[in-house]
Each structure stands twice: as C-alpha cells, then as structure tokens.
C-alpha cells in the first residue's frame, strides 16, 4: 500500500490527504529486467511471423518502387 492509500485509509471523519505521484513513495513494480523473454505461445509465434511477412512485403514494395524510379523496371 502506498502513501496515498495509507493516508486515505487513515483519514479522519472529514479529512482526506492527497499526494502528487512525484512526491509519493515509489511503488513496487514488476521486475522486468530479470524476467527474460516472452514465452513463444502459438499466438505470439503467429503474430511475429505475420509481422515478418508484413515487413518483407513492405520492403519488397519499396524495393520495387526504387527500381522503378531508377528505370530498371518499366510499368
């Protein structure tokens, strides 16, 4: 429980305390530094493959346009 919650919990009948996030105690957050990489579930795998396909398609499209502008491809 952070300070805001503590203060609200400890409020007297008609008194509430509000703390700006930057003035409050730092909260305990998830340790993302040591948790490692995401598990490759079927959904994650499909999404990353779809993304690779999309990127390859886009790069191909751009390459086609560059070659067209350079006069190597007509049409």
């Amino acid at each position: 429980m952070n300070r805001t919650e503590l203060n609200i919990a400890k409020r007297t009948e008609h008194t509430f305390f509000v703390v700006h996030p930057l003035d409050d105690e730092r909260e305990l957050k998830v340790d993302t530094e040591h948790i490692g990489r995401m598990r490759m579930t079927p959904t994650v795998r499909v999404c990353l493959y779809a993304l690779r396909g999309y990127l390859l398609l886009m790069v191909g499209l751009l390459g086609f346009r560059v070659l067209q502008l350079a006069g190597a491809i007509h049409g």
Binding site: D31, I35, Y54, L61
Partner: protein, 438 residues
C-alpha cells in the same frame, strides 16, 4: 500477480494536501494525475495533422467528420493499453519490447522509431519555417530561436514544470474553436449529420479520398504516441491506484483532440466554400485572413507553430526516453542535466539536427514527408502488435492489468484495421500507379 518484485530507492516526498471531502480528494487526485493523456493526444495534432485535417476540409468539406468520431474510441483504446503497461511496470515501451522480444525486435523497433521520429521532426520545423515566413519573420532567425526554446523547455530538471507549460500549449488549441466559429461553419444539424452518418464525396470513392482517409487515420494514431505516453507515465511515477484517473486523462485528451481536429476540418471547409485553391494551411490562413480579417490569419499561423512546437517536444522526448531506456541511461525530466546528460543530449541533438536540416537550402522536404508516411506505415502495425502481445503477457501484468477478453476483441479488430490501412498507405506512396485517381 505471479511476478518478482523489486524495491526501488526512496525518493523525496512533500507534505500531502489535506482536503475535507472525498469528492475534493478525488478531483485533486485527478488533477495531479492529469497530463500525459492530454499531452500525448493533443500533441498528435502536430504540424502534419493540421495539414491533413485542413486539407480534408478544403477538399471534402464536412464529409470526413464521421471518420474523426470513429477514431475517437480507436485512439483511446490504443493509448489506454499503454497507460496500463506503464503503470504496471514503471518502464517505457522500448525497454519492454527489448526485454520481452529480444534484441533483434528491440533494435528494429528502436531504429524505426528514431528514424521516423527524426523525419517527423523535420516536418515540424518545416511547418514552423512556413508559418513564420507567412508572418513576415525570417525563418533563418525564427527556426533556431524555436529550437533553443524547445531545448530550454526540458532543461529545468522538473517534470512538473515541463508538464504545466505543455498543458498550457495544449489548451491554446482552444483557439481552434474560435476560428471554427468565425469561419461561419454549417448549421449544427448539418454538422451532427455529417459526424454521425458516414458519407462519400460527390464523385464517389477516389484514390485521393482514400489517401486522405488513410492519412487521417495515420495522423490520429502515430507510433511515437505509444512510446511517449508509456515513458511519460513511468517518468511521472503514476501509481496503481492512479489507473482510473490516467484512463480519464487519456479519454479527456482523446475527446479534446478529436474536437480540435474537427475545428481544423471546419477551417478547411471555409476555404472550400469560398473556392480557394488549397496549397497548404499557411496559404489558406492568408486567404481566409483577406476575407475574415487579420485575427483569423494570425491565429491559424500561430496555431500551426504551436502544433509544431507541441509535436517537437513530445516526439523528441519519445526518442530520448526510448533510446535512454534501452541504453540503461538515467532518463527522466525530474533529473537535472548533470544527472542525465545523455538523455538531454539525445533530446537536444534531435531538435537541433531537425531544425538545421530545414534551414539547408533546397533540402528534399517532399522526399522526407513521403518517407515519414512509408516508415510510419512500417512502424505502426509492428508497434501495435508488440503492444497487444505485451498486454496479454500475464507473466508480467497478472490478471489486474492484462487485457480482458473484450479488450482483445476490440484491440485485435483495431490491429487488423491499422494493418490494412498502413499497408494501403505505404502501397499508395510506393506504387501510386496502382491507385488511379478516377
């Protein structure tokens, strides 16, 4: 939540504010949390957005207002995910992609973000130069001054000071409502109908119309917004209990931004009904000024500069935060320059390099604008995919912050829509002959 926790170092605290009612406590808490949502949304109404919305109005009148209404929930749902991720982890988006998807995807996302952000910054300064030129101010003087002011804005070592100034700049956009009123918009009933009922242009769907639809979507939802808001939420150290207020902040920001965008379309519509040839918003300001008076002209030009300034500070920060997080540098607006020199240097380099490029005579600005569109098309779907996967990552977020099934239905629909539109936009830019304008 099945997660390991880490205790962060204690920081300075100030005395809490005492109020006498629960309502006042909640209102005050909201005001303290308020900021990142409004800023990220309104800063997205940057120079490129002003140009796109005004052009949409100048070409199709009020016939694209319905699209803005459609984009309101889309932009809210996308940014709400970032808020949850930022509050749950206290980390930026770039750092999360790096850690959960590995170095390859991390470097790809970061490089793409930095490149598209830099090119967008160039367009922001190009707009500043254009508007200053129309106001009779030499861009060779005005652009460097704007760059110096933008750097000074972040150097105070206080997140709150930066946030208050930027919120003030966001609220200056209220002037768009005055402009929309002064240009004599269509009747309220007509506006309501155009907003609620999708309509096509008189000549039917053309490549030009499709391009503007896609550009409007791409302008309203930009990749840098994901990175910016998550880092901003982390830098502001929003707490778990702040989530509902951060959501409200984001919703208020989305509504405000869409309303301002609608006003920009109405300004463009004023040019259409007066049969002006539309070239750019600055020229339109001069044309409208000749009819409606110098206030309208100067207000539109100043709002163009304001939009570019907002875009520049937020996009540069998105880059500086993202790069700093991945490099492990201290990256916070709360830190003085001596404690986070690399973070501030990154911000300064982004601003100065973009401003310098604009001042080079015959710089390829048209090529840069096209590159922004193509790279944003590449960037947005990948950024959204990573976001959606991270929000389903219960190992990190647990049940409290992870997506609910209904979130996933909504968000996957948005992902597919953005994928298709981004692909169409990039294809249209890269291979325009596939889209005959008939």
């Amino acid at each position: 939540m099945s997660m390991s926790l880490q205790l962060r170092e204690e920081t300075r605290t100030k005395a809490p504010i005492r109020v006498s009612s629960k309502w006042a406590a909640q209102a005050l808490t909201f005001l303290m949390v308020f900021g990142p949502g409004l800023i990220v949304m309104e800063a997205d109404n940057d120079a490129g957005a002003v140009s796109t919305y005004v052009q949409a109005g100048a070409q199709y009148g009020t016939r694209l207002l319905w699209l803005l209404l459609l984009l309101l929930p889309i932009s809210y749902f996308v940014q709400e995910m970032v808020v949850r991720l930022g509050i749950a982890t206290g980390q930026g988006h770039a750092a999360m992609i790096y850690r959960r998807f590995g170095k390859w995807w991390g470097r790809f996302s970061l490089a793409d973000l930095l490149l598209v952000n830099f090119l967008t910054l160039v367009t922001e300064f190009a707009a500043i130069a254009l508007a200053l030129g129309r106001m009779g101010v030499d861009p060779m003087l005005g652009v460097p001054l704007a760059a110096v002011a933008l750097i000074a804005l972040v150097l105070t070592g206080s997140y709150r000071r930066w946030e208050r100034i930027v919120i003030f700049l966001c609220l200056l956009d209220l002037l768009w409502f005055v402009i929309a009123f002064r240009v004599h918009p269509p009747a309220a009933g007509e506006l309501l109908r155009r907003t609620l009922v999708p309509s096509m242009p008189p000549g039917g769907m053309t490549a030009g119309w499709l391009f503007l639809v896609i550009a409007t979507v791409g302008t309203t939802i930009a990749p840098w917004q994901l990175f910016f808001q998550q880092s901003c939420v982390a830098d502001k150290r929003l707490r778990f209990a702040d989530l509902k207020w951060a959501r409200l902040d984001t919703f208020v920001g989305a509504v405000f931004t869409i309303l301002v965008a609608g006003c920009m379309m109405l300004a463009g519509n004023a040019a259409l009904v007066r049969h002006f040839d539309f070239a750019d918003p600055a020229k339109m300001a001069v044309q409208l000024g000749a009819v409606l008076g110098p206030f309208t002209k100067n207000a539109i030009l100043l709002l163009m500069i304001n939009a570019a300034v907002l875009g520049t500070t937020t996009i540069s920060l998105a880059s500086a935060w993202a790069y700093g997080e991945v490099q492990g540098w201290p990256s916070s607006l709360q830190k003085p320059v001596r404690e986070a020199p690399a973070f501030y240097a990154m911000y300064g380099v982004c601003v100065m390099a973009a401003a310098g490029l604009v001042l080079i005579p015959r710089a390829p600005l048209q090529l840069i604008i096209l590159s922004v569109q193509v790279l944003a098309g590449l960037m947005l779907p990948s950024a959204i995919i990573f976001l959606q996967l991270l929000l389903n990552d219960k190992e990190v977020l647990g049940d409290r912050f992870a997506n609910r099934p209904w979130n996933n239905v909504v968000n996957w629909t948005i992902v597919v829509l953005l994928f298709v539109l981004s692909l169409l936009l990039a294809a249209q830019v890269a291979a325009p002959q596939w889209f005959p304008n008939t």
